[in-house]
Amino acid sequence: MSQNGQTQNPVPTYTKKDFESGVDPRWCPGCGDFSIINQVQKAMPNVGVARENIVFISGIGCSSRFPYYMNNYGMHTLHGRAPSFASGLKVSRPELMVWVITGDGDALAIGGNHFIHTMRRNLDLKVLMFNNRIYGLTKGQVSPTSELGKKTKTTPHGSPDYPFNAPALALGSGATFVARSIDIEGAHMGGVIAAAAAHKGSAFIEVFQNCPVFNDGAYTFLTDKAVKTDAILRMEAGKPLLFGKDNKKGIRFDGQKAELEVVTLGENGVTEKDILIHDPTRSDPTIAFMMANLSDRAGFPTPIGIFRSVRKPTADENTWEMIKAAKAKKGDSSLRKFLADADTWEVK
């Protein structure tokens, strides 16, 4: 479909460089944001969309400076509101590939409403959220993903609030694609980005991102060499949910208690067959939800990868189906005919 008289151009062969705007990123040295843009720029040549048909829309925050560094169309909008601009753009021009770039505060604090509605509608938008569990740009206030009790500039005695689990919130809103990765896991992140690009429908990616200046080490509990293998669970479609040293630990579903549990292969007669096979395409979001909540539970690893990936007609598809039907039914009428389509009378 092509609106506004634009014609679709053939997609040239690109390299990463084609997606660099040439503007020097304004992030602090060592910021996790660099790694994320690197992966996005690497992924873009392979999404099969012409550069001029890709749009990056962001809110406000360190992360939201992102569009300036991409050599595509872009809008750096208002705090929390990026999904609303993106939604209008996507509904009006469904042939464009539209990315929303956002931070944990931008997406989930002030932007929470647009976020959940984007997920609900299943608009074909890709939402990439940089989660550093802090407000970076405004220099260190509590965010809705900061831990309970977290001391920040606005919560010197600790945060009284519980954090959102972002994938769980997305799933609760009806999201059809939900994934998570980590800034320092470049290759993994690249894979997740490619999968989101390929997904038709709202795609949500949470990237755990270190902010060395205002929340340094927020993810060392996952990324520290010493704990990494036990702390991270890599979900792969069709594969058993194994983790730990030599993939010896696994996630089993205890049908009795209707709960997940961590088991060790070889112990208590546990074999690989007992381990839950990861299937992001289940139409019921429950198991994805359970996996998302694992990270909040003591004794469980934090899953990364794709929680859910289910194809449903998107809101933009639904909208254009109706537009096409209306056009087919009514045909092309002149303006005068349209205006006169009512009770009329003549004055001579």
Binding site: S2, Q3, N4, G5, Q6, N9, S21, V23, R51, E52, N53, I54, V55, F56, I60, P67, Y68, M70, N71, N72, Y73, G74, M75, H76, T77, L78, R81, P83, S84, F85, S87, G88, L89, K90, V91, S92, R93, E95, L96, N113, H114, H117, T319, I323, A326, K327, K329, K330, G331, D332, L335, R336, F338, L339, A340, D343, T344, W345, E346, V347
Partner: protein, 619 residues
């Protein structure tokens, strides 16, 4: 003398008349009113109507809160408003009488359904005794008290319809009487009824019968002293339809899509009284209109700006509280310099205020309601049909000047209706909405490189080689990149302001209604047009040297306005607010200190009140 109609009563020719139909929400008064309006229109009268339905939520039958009304003013001369005071009040039950009688002109005709004055209904209306028995009533008005219940039942005796269905026909009895009273040919109405109830022929026939019974009743009863005719008005020839202001705004949205060949994208959130614009527009998919009901007002305007970034003509519709919520976004549209139309249907404020009542109190927020220096064009519609042209103009300005435009209407215009002459084929001119498709500078595409009018180019996604980024941070005056340079900022603030001042080239001079000089100038804007024009005409007829200027453009103000204001000894600004235009004029024309006439009671200004005020001033 009137032609003899063969009846016993004389036929009086009148220039104009105002009728109000009121009854319970279930009584079908909106239908009766609009059918009668149509008949008047076909008879060639000029007219204006205003519905007066209950605030919200369906109230219990017979209650005061459940009263629903419809007023029509029609005549053989220009009709400017739905009328100050009804000459005829058709009140279908005691509650309707109670809430409306005080508006009836002394000596006017009261037609009421005596069958509805049951004890229960009297109590619900708060009457201790039956008001129809009150002698004062008969002294002050021409009371035509008819048991429409019984007469309807009689007409339908043996029809086999349920009591409920029979009761539903009652409104056609009233309509039939009114047809007789105003000498309207009944045949078209009979056809109408048959067409309307095509799928239920037994209901159609019942309504036809009751309508005829009402008509016959008028003819035979002794209760009416005379019959009336209202000759045709001198309207411009053409095909007409009735439009409400909200309906006209929706038509303009579709017309703009057609005239430009561009998609119009309406992102909005329902709110009284603006909701119908979104509702109506959602039917216009085949015309190139895309509607999107967002999760809130902020997302509504956001989606429209996003669509504008993509090359569509973004528009959002709202009322007071919604406009307040859109403030931050409007600032973004100003700095991004993207076309956007905001249609704000004003209602009583502050806060939730009086959602179903009209007011003109959003002028301040339209002009000044953004943080930072964020000027934008503001225009206002003056009548229901004019909403069509005001919204069309909004789009033209927004796309030409790459700017958000606020179009103000109000509940009075939005709900009110009047005949709309449908423009002839070719009368509305298509216009070009241009996109930039080539690089405009040796250094690459410069999204903020302006033309001599200071307008920036519009390059949209999908255009290869013109990839660029814009945003809400202050930006370099050429490349659009973020700039924290103080002098660049000052330049950009001044440039944006100058661009909006340049819009003056599209602002027509105001024209004075009446003599170009005089004792007093009435200066109005927006929905008070009808009242003020009507008052000016009446005052001049009384020999007063009164002129009238009506403002479509609030920003920029017309070039000749200052000079025109100086040509009158006094300036009076009537507004349905506490003096917002008056203050804005003081600011805009230092030295000018106009007088004010302010009503803030949720209603349009009455011609009679305004006339009285002017007479008081002129002594």
């Amino acid at each position: 003398m009137q032609p003899n109609t063969g009846k016993t009563r004389p036929v009086e020719k009148v220039e104009g008349v105002t009728i109000r139909f009121v009854g319970d929400s279930g009584d079908g008064m909106q239908l009766v009113g609009s059918e009668f309006t149509k008949a008047s229109a076909i008879a060639g009268n000029d007219l204006a109507t205003f519905p007066d339905f209950p605030a919200e939520i369906r109230a219990p039958t017979g209650s005061l809160a459940g009263v629903s009304g419809y007023q029509v003013n029609f005549g053989s001369r220009d009709i400017f408003t739905p009328g100050d005071q009804p000459d005829v009040l058709v009140a279908m039950n005691p509650a309707a009488l109670k809430t409306n009688l005080q508006d009836l002109r002394p000596g006017g005709i009261l037609i009421t359904n005596s069958g509805a004055y049951t004890e229960g209904n009297l109590e619900k209306a708060g009457y201790k005794s039956n008001p129809l028995d009150d002698d004062a009533l008969k002294k002050n008005y021409k009371v035509v008290s008819v048991d429409m219940d019984k007469l309807t039942q009689a007409a339908l005796a043996g029809s086999g319809l349920s009591n409920k269905d029979v009761a539903r026909c009652r409104n056609y009895f009233a309509l039939g009487m009114m047809y007789w009273l105003y000498s309207r040919p009944p045949e078209p109405q009979l056809e109408n009824i048959r067409a309307k109830f095509k799928k239920k022929p037994e209901i159609a026939e019942a309504n036809v019968k009751v309508f005829q019974a009402g008509h016959a009743f008028g003819e035979t009863t002794e209760l009416f002293v005379s019959q009336y005719t209202v000759p045709a008005a001198k309207l411009a020839p053409g095909t007409y339809r009735n439009v409400t202001g909200n309906g006209a705004a929706a038509l303009a949205i579709a017309a703009t899509a057609k005239l430009t060949g561009r998609q119009v994208f309406l992102g909005s959130y329902p709110i009284t009284p603006a909701t119908e614009i979104l509702q109506d527009s959602s039917y216009f998919k085949d015309m190139g209109v895309v509607t999107y009901q967002a999760e809130d007002e902020i997302a509504g305007i956001g989606s429209a700006i996003g669509a504008s970034f993509g090359g569509s003509l973004g528009v959002t519709t709202t009322s007071g509280p919604g406009l307040a919520l859109k403030s931050e976004m409007l600032g973004l549209a100003v700095i991004a310099e993207l076309p956007l139309v905001v249609i704000n249907v004003q209602r009583g404020g502050p806060s939730t205020g009086m959602p179903t009542k009209t007011e003109q109190s959003d002028l301040y927020i339209a002009l000044f309601g953004r943080h930072g220096e964020a000027p934008l064009p503001v225009i206002a519609a003056r009548s229901p049909a004019d909403c069509f042209y005001a919204v069309m103009e909004g789009f033209k300005i927004a796309t030409k000047w790459m700017t958000p435009v606020i179009v103000l209407t109000d509940g009075y215009l939005g709900f009110g209706s009047e005949p709309f002459r449908i423009p002839e084929e070719g009368e509305l001119k298509p216009y070009l909405v241009k996109y930039q498709t080539t690089v405009n500078d040796p250094a690459g595409y410069m999204p903020y490189k302006r033309d001599d009018k200071l307008i920036r180019p519009w390059a949209i996604p999908g255009t290869p080689g013109l990839e660029h980024r814009i945003g809400g941070l202050e930006k370099d005056s050429m490349s659009g990149m973020v700039s924290y340079d103080g002098m660049n900022h000052e330049k950009m603030v001044k440039t944006r302001a100058q661009k909006i001042r340049n819009v003056i080239e599209d602002v027509p001079d105001v024209e004075v209604d009446g003599e170009p000089t005089g004792d007093l100038l009435l200066l109005s804007w927006g929905g008070t047009y009808g009242s003020v024009r009507g008052a000016a005409a009446r005052l001049r007829a009384q020999g007063k040297k009164v002129g009238h200027v009506h403002l479509r453009w609030l920003n920029p103000l017309p070039k000749n306005l200052g000079a025109v204001l100086k040509s009158f000894k006094k300036v009076l600004v009537p507004e349905v607010n506490d003096g917002q235009l008056a203050n804005y004029l003081r600011m805009s024309f230092p030295g000018l200190d106009p007088m004010q006439f302010n009503r803030i009671n949720g209603k349009a200004i009455k011609i009679s009140e305004l006339t009285a005020k002017v007479n008081e001033i002129l002594g």
